[in-house]
Each structure stands twice: as structure tokens, then as C-alpha cells.
Symmetry: C2
Subunit: 393 residues, 2 copies
Amino acid sequence: MSLEMRIGKRILLGPGPSDVHPRVLRALATPLVGHLDPEFVALMETVKQLLRETFRTRNRLTLPISATGSAGMEAALVNLLEPGDGAVICVNGAFGGRMAEIARRAGAQVTTVEVPWGDVLDPDRVRSALELLPRASAAAPRVLAVVHAETSTGARQPLEELGRLAHEHGALFVVDAVTSLGGCPLEVDAWGVDVCYSGTQKCLSCPPGLSPVTFGERAAERIRTRTRPVQSWYLDLSLIEQYWGEERVYHHTAPISMIFALYEALRIVHEEGLERRFRRHALHHAALVAGVEALGLAMAVAPAHRLPMLNAVRVPDGVDEAGVRRRLLERHGIEIGAGLGPWKGRVWRIGLMGESSTPANVLLVLAALGEALGRDRTGEALAAAERELAAAA
Amino acid sequence: MSLEMRIGKRILLGPGPSDVHPRVLRALATPLVGHLDPEFVALMETVKQLLRETFRTRNRLTLPISATGSAGMEAALVNLLEPGDGAVICVNGAFGGRMAEIARRAGAQVTTVEVPWGDVLDPDRVRSALELLPRASAAAPRVLAVVHAETSTGARQPLEELGRLAHEHGALFVVDAVTSLGGCPLEVDAWGVDVCYSGTQKCLSCPPGLSPVTFGERAAERIRTRTRPVQSWYLDLSLIEQYWGEERVYHHTAPISMIFALYEALRIVHEEGLERRFRRHALHHAALVAGVEALGLAMAVAPAHRLPMLNAVRVPDGVDEAGVRRRLLERHGIEIGAGLGPWKGRVWRIGLMGESSTPANVLLVLAALGEALGRDRTGEALAAAERELAAAA
């Protein structure tokens, strides 16, 4: 076998990873230092501070878990739940379903509140589910968990009212922000989020491999008062906290190069500023939608609930869904995503995340889609997108 | 706060990470492709093949877990164990103790066989522990687990007889090879190892962040016949196997840049060849020991049981252990390791792993240690090391 590494150039417009800034690639390639080196320890402190800024929180316990976003999800749930605990989990896509599965494996009594893929949850339905659980017993709602940005559908879940409901019922509010962090408003403190986790490869435009998490004081207190140890030693926040804290108690060896990369990616977020970053994502989303609709295609999520960074576009009847993606990849090096679960074969997922959210990419993906579909409305689509871009200038 | 990244040059002679080859750093900095991209899928196949070669196994289920070595340890144990299962765990240092802790959190009935730090386990004691467990019951020994290379002490555990004992008692043989893989002989198939896990940042000289694992057919069969799901969704091998297999069923997003780095690091191992690599580690170990002893210092582990890549050196009475490490770091940029647990303050741990195992580093660390200790025998130490190096030429 030939062992030469053969990796071509790609433009990443799928559900993640997104394109990575050259500064982040250079940071990745920094020669290593030890994970207990004073210079690395100082860098870890800055990473925590930059993550707090990005999550909009003052939570002390804010750090990247040494694994991908799915491990952040598991860390959030297994640290809070003990066998028999009640958990209400909102499911409107693939990742809500995954939270329920992880909570069940932690021994929780899981109640799911399910709505069709692409929809968002009505707080009244969530309230009913919380009220059905007994109060002041082991099965009382310990956790209310919801996905802020469903990567499988592109739906944005409003959070503030759900946070209030959780606290009214004595539950901790757990939010999956894998795809939203750094791409649209997320207010951990102001919205009463007790635990929030994310991934690095979406709107932070860092390679995949770390999961930023933040745990508020109520959640930290819950961890302190558990009756048995967290089932996962690797994801036990009480141990990880000591490793990332002043004590620097050895737990595992941090993924040093990935921390370098996250540091640089967070610096870039800091330099741009969150508000400008959110406006940029919103603008390119609006331009993409205008172009997609001018091409005669339909968005899969209602306008009021669309995420700016993940755009699910319905595949027209009779079109070879995989063939279009393959054509974009092979002809132009453009990656867009396929549908998952019930949406497999039915949507394309076009990501405009972090560094990938540019006017050039909006125009490029519209031109490439128009060509692949053989539509003669490509010129109109590009003009519609340009109008949106110009309106903001 | 100033956000410029300030990371100096280091020579990594501690317990890991080790120095990383420039080729691996360049691979890390490769612009990303998607984790389902055909080019990335092809690269994953080659990584699996190179890992099999390095583990000396034909096990189909051989892949890197998307987290650090400690997660590989947890994956090994939680996939095999169910609540109530018997597990015999050998403890002769920090990492054996960690295995016991993880097995307990998986609900296993753990029997530990303990010997003092720095010693290795006598098979007769292990046999006695296995024989004490009831046969053909839930508490029958499901797993015998041992650390091949105890990173906390530098002791090398002989494995072949323990493998036979495990199988005689119907147990699966689990081996921690975090520090040994690629640095000294390890024969997964020939020695009857059912599950082996490692880390990337030791003798493979790749940054930390991945845990190569291999599961043999007996272990895979055990996973298939579990009565309840693996408690960790993230580390569930039956799911990870489908993601890394032909089906490519989405599980998590692989840490793409780290896989690039591992690929290149494994290529370098392949190019050098395992036998040459083992001889190189053995030679530089011998030279270091000759020099350390000529300096008037003592090794902490008996000659018959020393690992070549991790050398624990006793701190002489009256010497400021941390002060010496700090002097090496601040004056020369050399990192060596401190002792853990009962050996805290009592040993230095000098790693000569992968790219860090060079004649230059042997001479450098001896010269720096001699200077820091104010010993006038530095010249003799260097000469003793040079004689060892020359004898092999």
C-alpha cells in the first residue's frame, strides 16, 4: 500500500467540521510542551477565560473536555444523573434522541417530549411533562435537557422559557450548544442554563476533538452531593475540575495540540467580537436562503425557527440526493451534508459556520447547486443572494 | 490580558508527551476535510492497518478511540464488564489503581493483587486470586487486567504467563500498553492479549488526544453477548465499530487533525521498523542507566524489570527534587517528570520515548542533571553513556 497521505483541498459547507483559519492550523503545529509545564498551565487559564466570554457566563467550572462534543453531552448528563433520577428530555432531532439514550444508560427514568423533526418544542408541552413527574421523590425531575441548535434539522430552540420551567420544577437546565456556540446568541447566565456543552468544529472553527462545557453553581452543588461516584471516571467533573484548577491534580494528559488550536480559535472569536460574529452568520444565512428559494428549492424549517449556521434544504422529488453531493465534492471540493434518520435522502444540510460563513461560500454553493441540479435559475439565485449581502452593507 | 500565545521550545524527557517529529506537526496542520469524506475514510483504513502492525495483531477491531489513553482504559473495562462481574486487577503503581477504580464504577466485583510500587507481579499470586473467585457464576473472573509498562514506576510486567492464567480461568486478558506500544516488544496475538489499549503521546511520538485500542474475537464476542448496554455511550465499542467499519454509521465526529497526526506518526514507526525501534529504545536506556549510576544515582526499579522508555531515578537524600526539575526546565528547556503517589518527591521520571530517545538527549539530560546536582562526576557519567552507545555501533 502507498502510505503517502493524500488529502485534497476542501471547502467545508456541511454540518461540521467547518473551515479552519490558517492561524489555528499554525497553532496546531506548535511543537509540544508538557501538560504540566507552567507555560501550558497559563494557557489553560486563558482558554477557560475565553470560553467564559464565549458562553457568556461567569461559571468557574468552564473548560474543554478532552474528547469530542458527544463526550461533552455524556459528561453533562452522567455528572448530574444517578440511577432512578427523573429526566425530561426534549427530542426534535437526532441529538435530542441521543441525550435520551445517554440518560437511560446512566440509569435515569427518562421522559421524552417529542415533536416532529424540524419543529421546536412548545413550553406548554414541556411543562406538562415536568408536572407529571412526582415532586420531592427520587423520580422528581432532576434534569430538563434540550438541544439549542439541532444539527440534524437546522431548528433553533428558544431557551429562556424552558429555563424558567426547569427551575420552577427544581430541575437543572441542560443545553446542547454544539452547533450554536459562537454562531448565534447564547446567554448561559442570563437564560438560566445550568450546564451547557459544545463542540469545537462548528462555529468556533477549530478542528473536532474537544468539547467546551460550563457548569453553574447549582450543577456543581449537585455533583458534590451525589450519593455515588459518576459512572464514568474519564468524564467525572469532580476530577477534571481539580486537573484544570489550581491544584493541577493529575487526571489525564490534556490533548495539548488541540488546546493550542482552541486557544487560537477563541482568540479569533474574541477579536471579531460575538455580536459581529452573530451578525455575520445571520447575514450569510439570509443570503443563502434568498438564493436557495430563488433556485426554486424549499427550506425544511419554518422561517421563525431557522438556525443561521445550519440550513436544511429539501431535496426536490426525483433528484439524486447523493449524486448532487458527490458532484459538488468531486467537481468543486465542496462538502455539504446529507440528512440523518427520517431526513436521510430528503434534505441537504448546508453549513455556514465560523470561517466557512463567507459571502464567497454563499455564492459558490448556490452556483454549484444550480449547476448540479441543471436549473436555469442560477443567475437569479446569485442576484437574490447579492441583494441580501448588499442590503447589509 | 495579552492573548499572544507564548510557548517556548522544550525537550520532552518526562513521562509523556514525547517530542513530536516535524512531519507529524505538518500533518496536524493539514487543512481539514470532512470526517465522512472518501479521502478521510481511506486514511482511517490505513490507520487501522498500521495500528494492527504496531500492536502485532490481526484483530479486525483495532482503531483509535477519540480521547486520551485514560479513555482507552475506560473503554477496555466498561465494554467487557457488567455489574456484578468479577475482575482481578493487578496493582503495582498508579495506573493499576486507576483500572481498579474504573472497574468498580462499572459495578464489577474487583479483586486487586497488589505489590509494592516498582515491583512486578508474581504469576503465582495472580493464580491464587483467580482461584479464589467462584467458577461459573456471575462473580467468576470475567477480566484479568494488568499494566504492561507502569508509567508511574518504570516497571515492565512480563505478560505471557499471565495471559495463559487468564484463559485457564475463563477470563479475558486486558493489558495497558499506554507507555510500551512502539517502544518495547508487545505481542498482542502471540501473548494471548484479548484487549490492549495505548496512548499516542509516548513511544508513538504523536501528540496526546487519541487512544489506540485493539479488541480480539473473544472480547468482541463478549460485547455482543452483554445483557445490558455499555454504560458509556461515547465509549461503546459496538457503536464505534460501526463508525470505523464499512457501514460508516455516524457516531461522533472523529478528531480529524489528530488522526492525520497519528497516521504520520505510525508511518514513521513503520519506516523505522518495530525491531529497530525497540533496539534504539533499549540502547539509549542502557546508556542513560550507565550515566545515572556513574553520577552516583540509583535506579528505582530492579535491572530485570526496567522499562527502556521510562526511567525512575531515586532522588538522593537532601536534594530539592522540585528544584532540580525547575532548574532543568528553566535553564535548558528540559522537562523530566516528578514522582506520583507514594513516590512523590522520591524519584525523577526520565522518559526516552519515541523521537525523544536519542543519543543527544541521553548526554544532555546527564550533563544537566550533573550540573543541577553539583556533582563533579558529570564527565564520568558522560563517558559511561558514550561507552554504551559505542558498544552498539
